[in-house]
């Protein structure tokens, strides 16, 4: 099974931009890359999804290089409420495998 790798943790301050990178060397041709956010005692929540290049929505941007072996989630101007664990998900042969997750801590 393909493996995804993310930094274990990151720290930031309110108002800063945060970039979290996920490596997925064995991504399949038809797979999408999806990012989720998880707060304590809750299930993960969808943030953004992309296939290639750049995708932007109201909460984040997703950058995917041409080889698609990595992706970067960008959170503009984070706030305290963005403190959470962020997961990168890449579809592999109908089995969706999560990355290890990145714990983002936002400080005042």
């Amino acid at each position: 099974l393909a493996k995804t790798t993310q930094p274990i943790s990151m720290d930031s301050y309110e108002g800063q931009e945060v970039n979290i990178t996920c490596s997925h060397n064995n991504i399949a041709t038809n797979d999408y890359i999806t990012w989720y956010q998880q707060f304590p005692s809750q299930g993960p929540r969808f943030i953004i999804q992309g296939y290639k290049t750049k995708v932007t929505n109201e909460v984040a941007s997703l950058f995917i290089p041409a080889d698609r072996k990595s992706s970067t989630l960008s959170l503009p101007r984070v706030s305290l409420s963005d403190t959470a664990v962020y997961y990168c998900l890449v579809g592999v042969a109908d089995k969706l495998i999560f990355g290890t997750g990145t714990r983002l801590q936002v400080f005042p």
């Binding site: 099974l1 005692s41 809750q42 299930g43 998900l89 089995k95 495998i97 999560f98 290890t100």
Partner: protein
């Protein structure tokens, strides 16, 4: 809209006993999944079902079984619980087998096997 409903919310279970974790969705999604989440290990896929009547094994299927008799329900059964199955279990669904379709998660079942 309820989305994904999991029951029970939490449970303490004696080792060797059996238990079924329930999961129901009201979105008519084709695919459903069971994950377990342990501290430091993130989410790991146990079993999945791409459509009613079919199931498949994920990363950590041993000790668990599932069935998918209809679109809405995807129960997870522990036939003989062991302490290593202490975890938080999340059920999820997606419209079209995952690729290109975001997952929708329930709020989890916290299981402690003693």
């Amino acid at each position: 809209t309820a989305g994904i409903t999991q029951a029970p919310t939490s449970q303490i279970l004696a080792a060797g006993r059996s238990m079924t974790l329930r999961c129901t969705q009201d979105m008519r999604h084709n695919a459903m999944y069971w994950y377990r989440q342990d501290l430091g290990l993130g989410l790991r896929l146990i079993h999945y079902s791409n459509t009613a009547g079919t199931t498949g094994k994920g990363e950590v299927p041993d000790g668990y079984s599932v069935s998918r008799a209809n679109t809405d329900d995807f129960p997870l059964t522990l036939a003989s619980a062991v302490p290593s199955q202490t975890s938080v279990y999340f059920c999820a669904s997606s419209a079209a087998g995952g690729r290109g379709s975001p997952l929708h998660f329930g709020n989890g079942t916290r299981l402690t096997v003693t």
